[in-house]
């Protein structure tokens, strides 16, 4: 009686079609030569077309890819980024049905008001505005069946991305994204994360909205609605440079504060959509689907490393820490030092730069561009370590780079002093 056909044909077909089309483009270029950039744009169009058939999952994937795969041509990352807002929405009939299934009654029976049209897209679903017991809520609703589609979506995306990447780097990134996505499927975990971060929060300028647990399940999350501006809206409101700097520094400080707090856990989703700019210099953090904890042992080394980097310590002092962090695995000391100097150092120099000075201006810094170029360059170097990088380091660095990209977009000035204080203070207590 349980032979329900859960066919993958639909998704597979879309993917297959995209892969075939890309194959054609590639061979066309091989035969006719042609403009590489234009070709990339065409390929991007095809990928985008395929992604738009895959509902919410692709949004998440795209976010991670943009951060995790700098080797992709810019035109393609652009295109994937655009898919952020292009998910097929859950229609009004289905929303009623999901609320009924998850909360036991139809929205109109539970809420004083419930807007059947979503006001925002969210990870793996969409968000509706509602009123309950006089208070306003943002109700995040998960697309049904999205859990099952993750596997096939990722498999197909891997196929497409392989066309661009050489070596095994894809597997690593795709696997990690897949794990993250699966974690985000259970909204009750996210509800706990909200509570946790709210309890830990010691910064009065950071607001973590409350959760209405009686209206939250694995697939529905009721979050207190806060009336704030998105990053784009914030810019449209013509903020002063001081305001921009204030918010950027607040975000960066919060990252290091939470990392060095008791549970060494960060909000690891550096997406501008996860911040709301409120009145009175307050900033709300939303979407806690993706958080990351590190071990105390790791954090000690990581902090020490950063202190040494900021103080521009000798390479020989830095290499052993990288070895402890599993970022360098070379057979001899000499090779380890060479690897550090040729591969890690050029990258470190870029990403530690904003923390060096008390006044790093992201405006006109060409930060992302220089970063991506450096990554491309070191990729060509041959070492045994490549591909074995520490997962924790990669995650933290990627989050940090995500924030930097945001600061670049904001044109913000960063004061590294506060960060240095946090790190040195932590090391003083723990080392």
């Amino acid at each position: 009686m349980n032979n329900i056909p859960t066919s993958k044909i639909g998704r597979g077909a879309v993917v297959g079609k995209a892969a075939v089309k890309i194959g054609l483009k590639k061979s066309k270029r091989a035969i006719f030569g042609g403009d590489k950039k234009q070709n990339n744009e065409e390929i991007a169009d095809i990928i985008f077309e395929a992604l738009s058939h895959l509902k919410g999952v692709s949004v998440k994937i795209a976010q991670h890819i943009a951060l995790g795969m700098p080797f992709l041509p810019d035109e393609i990352v652009d295109k994937i980024s655009k898919s952020f807002n292009q998910i097929t929405p859950i229609n009004r009939a289905l929303i009623r049905k999901i609320i009924k299934t998850e909360l036991g009654s139809y929205p109109e029976e539970i809420f004083e008001e419930f807007e059947l049209e979503p006001f925002a897209a969210a990870s793996l679903g969409q968000v509706h505005k509602a009123k309950y017991k006089g208070k306003e809520y943002a109700i995040k609703v998960q697309y049904p069946g999205i859990g099952k589609s993750i596997n096939s979506d990722m498999a197909m995306l891997k196929g497409v991305l392989k066309l661009f990447a050489k070596g095994d780097r894809i597997e690593h990134v795709v696997k990690e994204v897949e794990d993250r996505l699966k974690e985000e499927l259970d909204y009750t975990k996210e509800a706990k994360n909200y509570d946790y971060f709210r309890e830990q929060n010691g910064n009065s300028n950071i607001i973590i909205p409350k959760i209405e647990h009686s209206l939250s399940t694995k697939r529905v999350l009721a979050v207190e609605f806060l009336d704030g501006l998105s990053l784009d809206e914030f810019f449209q409101s013509n903020p002063s440079q001081e305001q921009i700097n204030f918010y950027a520094n607040l975000i960066l400080k919060n990252f290091f504060e939470t990392l060095h707090s008791k549970a060494h856990t960060i909000h690891a989703d550096p997406n501008p959509g996860n911040f709301l700019f409120l009145k009175n210099s307050k900033l709300a953090i939303i979407d806690f689907g993706c958080i990351k904890s590190v071990s105390q042992e790791f954090l000690k080394d990581y902090s020490l490393l950063h202190q040494l980097l900021i103080e521009r310590a000798d390479d020989k002092e830095i290499v052993p820490i990288y070895e402890r962090l599993n970022m360098i695995k070379e057979p001899t000391k000499e090779k380890a030092l060479n690897y550090y100097q040729e591969v890690i150092k050029p990258l470190d120099r870029i990403y530690i730069e904003p923390l060096f000075s008390d006044n790093f201006d992201f405006k006109d810094s060409n930060f992302s561009k220089r970063g991506f170029e450096a990554i491309k360059e070191v990729q060509n170097k041959q070492y045994t370590t490549v591909g074995n990088a520490s997962e924790e380091i990669l995650f933290l660095d990627r989050s940090l780079l995500g924030y930097y990209a945001m600061f670049e977009k904001m044109g913000a000035k960063i004061d590294g002093k506060a960060i240095k204080e946090i790190i040195i203070n932590y090391n003083g207590i723990n080392l």
């Binding site: 009686m1 349980n2 032979n3 329900i4 056909p5 859960t6 639909g10 097929t88 229609n91 009004r92 009939a93 289905l94 009623r96 049905k97 999901i98 009924k100 299934t101 109109e108 059947l116 049904p144 069946g145």
Partner: protein, 246 residues
């Protein structure tokens, strides 16, 4: 007159509820009209007056659920602004919701329809009047509101959609996923497909080849769906007629 009507309706519902309970416990074959009457607290002549045969009870049950579902969707705020797809999706989901507490009973009906029993699928068609009418209305409104271009064969469409609905119910009865999530998805995806077909001009451009492919596709999926395919012959014949524009 009105009082009598509502009293009649009450008695009918009482009998139907008793029938669902008893048939669920004892099975359709083993539950007699006499026992159902006793359980419903009505006399034997009364039950025969309402339902001359046990099968009539089943048909009345299906009709009743159509009525209740239509009533439920008409109460949805803003339903008039729903798209045709959203309206149809709400209707089908409402039906399934009503079936939920009687799922075992509905399973019995389905088993009888799709196996060799006295219950003929053709007779099931007599129960679809309410469904067909409301779908027809939704469709007319959608066309009038320019949601779709006028659709060739549109007079056949409500009936086709009823066939589709029967397929959804069969699927749901076999669905063992959590909260029948697979069915929710199945409905959502298949209605998306139906909607895009209605919006495109696939149907109006249906060349001999196009309609042939479409027909083959639908008919073969119907075959896959039933264990004994002979009982879907009626549907198949009618579908064939529609596609061949007879």
């Amino acid at each position: 007159m009105k009082v009598t009507q509502s009293a009649k309706e009450k008695t009918k519902l009482k009998i139907l509820n008793a029938a669902v309970d008893l048939i669920t416990i004892k099975g359709f074959e083993n539950a007699s009209l006499r026992e159902i009457a006793k359980s419903a607290g009505v006399s034997n002549p009364t039950i025969y007056n309402y339902f001359p045969t046990k099968q009539k009870l089943l048909y009345a049950y299906i009709e009743q659920k159509h009525k209740e579902a239509i009533e439920a969707i008409s109460k949805i705020e803003g339903f008039d602004n729903f798209s045709f797809r959203e309206q149809l999706q709400s209707l089908i989901e409402s039906e399934l919701e009503l079936y939920l507490e009687d799922r075992e009973f509905v399973t019995q009906i389905a088993d009888m329809v799709f196996s060799n029993s006295g219950l003929k699928i053709n007779l099931l068609y007599d129960t679809n009047k309410e469904f067909i009418e409301v779908v027809k209305e939704m469709l007319e409104v959608a066309i009038e509101a320019n949601e779709f271009e006028p659709i060739p064969f549109s007079e056949h469409l409500p009936l086709l959609l009823w066939d589709y609905y029967i397929m959804v119910v069969s699927y749901w009865l076999k669905d063992d996923s959590e909260n029948f999530e697979n069915t929710t998805e199945f409905i959502d995806h298949s209605l998306a497909l139906i909607e895009s077909i209605l919006r495109s001009d696939i149907i109006s451009k249906a060349s001999t080849l196009g309609s042939f492919l479409f027909k083959r596709h639908i008919l073969s999926s119907l075959n896959k769906f039933t264990s004994t395919k002979s009982h879907f012959d009626g549907i198949k014949k009618r579908l064939t007629k529609v596609f061949d524009n007879e």
